[in-house]
């Protein structure tokens, strides 16, 4: 470390009072100039907002006039402004990777309460960066071409929206849906809040458009089973499950469905409230129109007899010999719009779902209130005929509850209000809403709340303790009792009702984690996919080329899901139109002369960038796939793998700098 030091400039940001309120910025500036002069610091400045154009110009001017060879900016997290300052350096002719950002906001001022300690820590961090940056090397971003095709996984409203936006812009989309039809949860609803639009009426035109669009290859009853490659160049294998219906011959006339003698309970689309045939389309407006044969329940597959569907099919489209097909597609970007699962209400045993017949889930109620649903839109008790006189709607079932999920599912208040309105409208029953807090923040939501209040729905603020059929006295006879503490009155109440609707929350898909692993993205502790930035980058992920939209990243209502679908599409179009993508040059590389082929790293890469070359017995890393996470760098026992930007020299120099004052 005795060689000539590069000229380093240090810039300390006040961030208004965000940093300056807890760190003595001037002291850090002066100390850097005085104490780090021997380490190459030739100029040290502070500025109120370093990220402003004036702040950036300060750096650019110094690079040009003082001939700075390295820049250290002590400001906020690199997530926010690393790019800003690296670009500023680049404008002044300095390779952007010779600029380092030190977080003295997130890692110092926001987490400390003692100004002196915070100031000392800032000095140590700046010192670490100054020592480190001397070993930074000029790096060039990698450029790779972008395949203009896009894969959209999930055919709910978010996925449909994303697919249509991209297809309308003239690019090809593969839309993959694991159910027989696209439409998602929205296709199950009767009305949408707060406008009470008919859900099907606004959804089905989009479904039809997606189903017939020349730029969309619709693959329903299909699942992605493997993904390899990297942004711009993914290779995806899709399993197209056997429908036992030849799609080229089928006209969707529905005769096979009509003639099929076997009925089973439909616990997917009808939420268990109704039946479907063994060969079926989940609903009348399903897209595509081709039915699916449910093999495990089919009489022919079980007993070798029946074939009613085949006999009656006018176009000979039934094909019992059909097998699963595996398709390989190449795409440049992937949007995951995989949606959510409903919370299983059975888990809240004290609410009695599954045990007390007249306790319903929100989805059951959606199907019941749907004119095309199993009861033709009649709201009845489980016997299918009795109209309820009193209905209790319980909010936050499985949400905002430390026993289940801490988060708010965001749509349940509004869906519960919608239920109250529909119950009143269709039955005239007395309706109680049991809520913890009312959350009606979006456009026209609170107005709808006011409307439901005015309709005479009764609101009880309190978390329901129990729903029981253990009645006290004749006035409760035959009723379900809702035991609740009314926190506004400050009393325990027992409210007898005929019907209970549990407004269940949303949960990540049961297989979200495995799916995330397949696509190389991670889940939060709650299980939702993590966005690159929760506010500023909500539809991209830490893996380039993998985007998320809709409820895959957390509970959302329909407008938000649609907006995210469109946003993800815009990000993909942006990539496609650039024709090539620049990848961060922070990559791992294998020194093949040091690699002895021990294969310890071979199974570790979360991005599948590592391959083993059998013929020469060494491991190689695909630089376009590598995301620079460093897992293999740490694991390599021979020290044969190094991570650009994280060399031993850089790391040890940084530690040494950090510990300088200790």
């Amino acid at each position: 470390m005795s060689e000539k030091k590069p000229k380093i400039g240090v810039y300390v940001c006040h961030c208004g009072s965000n940093i300056a309120g807890m760190v003595d910025v001037e002291a850090v500036r002066d100390w850097a100039q005085a104490a780090l002069g021997q380490d190459g610091v030739v100029v040290s400045r502070d500025y109120k907002f370093m990220c402003s154009s004036l702040g950036q110009e300060l750096i650019e001017k110094d690079i040009q006039e003082l001939g700075l060879e390295r820049v250290v900016v002590a400001a906020c997290s690199p997530h926010l402004h690393e790019k800003t300052f690296r670009t500023a350096s680049e404008r002044a002719g300095l390779n952007p990777y010779l600029t380092e950002l030190v977080s003295i906001r997130e890692q110092v001022s926001w987490v400390h309460t003692d100004k002196q300690v915070a100031t000392e820590k800032s000095k140590a961090l700046v010192s670490g960066a100054v020592h480190r940056v001397a070993y930074n090397t000029e790096l060039q971003p990698l450029k790779v071409p972008i395949n203009p095709n896009t894969l959209v996984v999930g055919g709910g409203i978010a996925g449909i929206q994303a697919a249509l936006e991209i297809a309308n812009a003239g690019f090809h989309v593969y839309l993959v849906e694991r159910e027989p039809s696209i439409g998602g949860h929205m296709a199950q609803f009767d009305k949408t809040f707060p406008t009470l639009d008919c859900s099907a009426c606004i959804l089905t035109p989009r479904m039809v458009e997606a189903g017939t669009h020349p730029n969309i290859t619709l693959l329903t009853w299909s699942e992605v089973i493997s993904v390899s490659g990297y942004v711009g160049n993914f290779n995806v294998t899709i399993k197209k499950k056997a429908r036992y219906v030849n799609e080229e011959l089928c006209t969707g006339c529905g005769i096979c469905v009509e003639k099929c003698p076997q009925k089973v309970i439909d616990d997917v689309y009808e939420a268990g409230l109704g039946y479907r045939k063994v060969i079926y389309t989940p609903f009348a407006q399903a897209v595509p129109k081709y039915p699916v044969l449910d093999r495990p329940n089919c009489t022919f597959f079980k007993n070798g007899k029946c074939k009613a569907c085949e006999k009656f099919c006018p176009t000979n489209a039934i094909d019992f010999t059909q097998e699963d097909q595996y398709l390989n597609v190449e795409v440049g970007n992937i949007i995951l719009a995989t949606g959510y699962d409903l919370f299983d209400a059975r888990r809240v045993t004290n609410y009695g779902y599954g045990r007390l017949p007249n306790v319903f889930t929100s989805l059951e109620f959606e199907r019941m209130s749907n004119a095309a649903g199993p009861t033709g839109g009649e709201i009845t008790l489980r016997d299918g005929k009795t109209k309820p006189e009193t209905v209790g709607i319980i909010h936050c079932v499985g949400s905002r509850d430390k026993n289940f999920n801490n988060y708010c599912s965001s749509i349940c208040c509004m869906q519960s209000l919608k239920f109250a309105h529909l119950v009143k409208e269709r039955t005239g029953a007395t309706v109680y809403e049991f809520y913890i807090d009312m959350r009606t923040p979006m456009k026209a939501y609170d107005e709808f709340y006011q409307r439901v209040l005015e309709e005479g729905t009764l609101f009880v603020r309190g978390k329901v303790a129990e729903v029981t059929n253990a009645t006290h006295g004749p006035h409760e006879k035959g009723k379900l009792i809702i035991q609740v503490e009314d926190t506004l009155v400050g009393k325990q109440r027992r409210i007898p009702v005929d019907m209970v609707i549990l407004s269940v929350g949303m949960e990540p898909r049961h297989d979200a984690k495995q799916v995330g692993q397949m696509f190389g993205i991670s889940c939060s502790s709650d299980g939702w996919y993590i966005e690159r930035h929760p506010k500023l980058d909500p539809v991209t992920t830490m893996t380039e080329g993998i985007l998320i939209a809709g409820c895959a990243s957390g509970p959302k209502d329909i407008p938000a899901s649609v907006a995210q679908g469109a946003a993800a599409a815009a990000r993909v179009l942006d990539k496609i139109l650039q024709k090539e993508v620049e990848l961060e040059p922070i990559r791992a590389t294998v020194d093949e002369s040091k690699c002895s082929g021990c294969r310890i790293c071979n199974n570790l890469c979360p991005f599948n960038a590592i391959s083993f070359l059998d013929d020469v017995g060494v491991t190689r890393i695909n630089p376009a796939l590598c995301q620079g996470c460093g897992t293999c760098v740490a694991a390599c026992p021979a020290g044969a793998i190094s991570g650009t930007g994280f060399s031993n020299e850089q790391i040890f120099a940084q530690i040494e700098g950090l510990l300088m004052g200790v």
């Binding site: 002369s593 040091k594 690699c595 002895s596 082929g597 021990c598 294969r599 310890i600 790293c601 071979n602 199974n603 570790l604 083993f612 897992t631 740490a634 694991a635 390599c636 026992p637 021979a638 020290g639 044969a640 031993n648 040890f652 530690i655 040494e656």
Partner: protein, 331 residues
């Protein structure tokens, strides 16, 4: 005769195996004699410290130093031989990285003494406890005082070359002697200062003939508990913690070839600063378990982590106190 370049070899805190290994080079030892004049070599030549002190600085061409710096005497001679030698080679594991004597760095000196002199396995009826300075009727007796920790040679003086191995393999010693002779005859160049000589640049796996696959370790076992060991398959894959992946090549994979796991005597691979840390992350990376309890149970299969990961390298690891390990070589 006096025209021959001078040669020295010294032993500090070591077992003597390095000397045996030098003699194990067979008739090559005659080449040493033909080209060098051994001036100081306690195991082979009768000469005194004062003879060395009397020599001109830089008058010894080549000194092979084995052993760690454990006491004041070791330290004194290290400085002395550094002054007198043109080329000082840290020879063998003790000198390069501390080796087994370096494991004593886990304990304070007093504890080492009490274990050596006052535990049940020691026959010491008079309760003798060595002191650096003792008054006896005849006067004052001194013996070299122990340092608080064992240091490697490079932690004490500037070292020109490093030759790993416990001990260095005879064929590697012979190759180094051939190289020095070639340099003397003007037929070769010395490697750059600070280089590792007499070893490979890769790891033991590179020289190991066993087949290797992607690793999924579900249990670590002692070698005697795996019966029989598959003779053609990677030992680590069979659950026996083999240090080969992290250990510098040069021994021709002696141990794995005969069905014993590598214990790491050739030290870290080129560019690796902390042998044990490398090996720990490597082993941790191939543990095939998800639940913390499961992982714990698998790791319990390594009952002596220091012995497994730092048997040779503790004194030279990042864990040691004092000078940061990345500032090696006495700087």
């Amino acid at each position: 005769m006096s025209e021959k370049p001078k040669f020295a070899m010294y032993w500090a805190a070591s077992c003597g195996g390095c000397e045996i290994s030098v003699l194990n080079i067979g008739e090559k030892i005659l080449d040493v004699d033909a080209h060098f004049e051994p001036v100081f070599w306690p195991v082979a030549v009768d000469s005194k410290y004062k003879d060395v002190e009397a020599m001109e600085d830089g008058s010894i061409l080549l000194t092979l130093w084995n052993g760690g710096i454990r006491n004041q005497e070791n330290e004194h001679i290290a400085h002395l031989l550094r002054r007198k030698s043109k080329i000082l080679v840290a020879f063998g594991s003790c000198a390069t990285e501390g080796c087994v004597p370096g494991l004593a760095n886990l304990y304070p000196v007093e504890e080492i003494f009490s274990t050596a002199y006052h535990t049940v396995s020691t026959d010491n009826p008079q309760g003798i406890h060595p002191q650096p300075v003792v008054q006896v009727p005849e006067g004052t007796l001194t013996i070299p005082a122990m340092n608080p920790v064992l240091k490697t040679l490079a932690q004490v003086v500037d070292v020109d070359y490093f030759m790993p191995g416990c001990p260095p393999e005879p064929h590697q010693i012979a190759a180094v002697i051939d190289l020095v002779i070639a340099v003397l005859e003007g037929k070769a160049q010395l490697p750059p200062k600070g280089a590792v000589i007499g070893a490979g640049n890769s790891t033991v796996c590179d020289e190991c003939p066993r087949a290797r696959n992607v690793k999924h370790i579900t249990a670590f076992k002692r070698i005697q508990d795996v019966a029989p060991l598959d003779p053609t398959l990677c030992i680590l894959e069979q659950g026996v913690p083999c240090n080969g992946p992290a250990t510098r090549s040069g021994c021709n994979a002696r141990c794995p070839r005969v069905g014993a796991q590598c214990i790491g005597c050739y030290g870290p691979a080129e560019g690796v600063l902390d042998y044990g840390a490398r090996l720990i992350t490597a082993f941790a990376s191939v543990v095939d378990a998800k639940e913390p309890e499961e992982i714990e149970a698998i790791l319990d299969g390594i009952p002596d982590p220091v012995g497994q990961f730092y048997r040779f390298n503790l004194a030279d690891s990042l864990l040691r106190a004092g000078v940061p390990a990345w500032k090696k070589n006495g700087h």
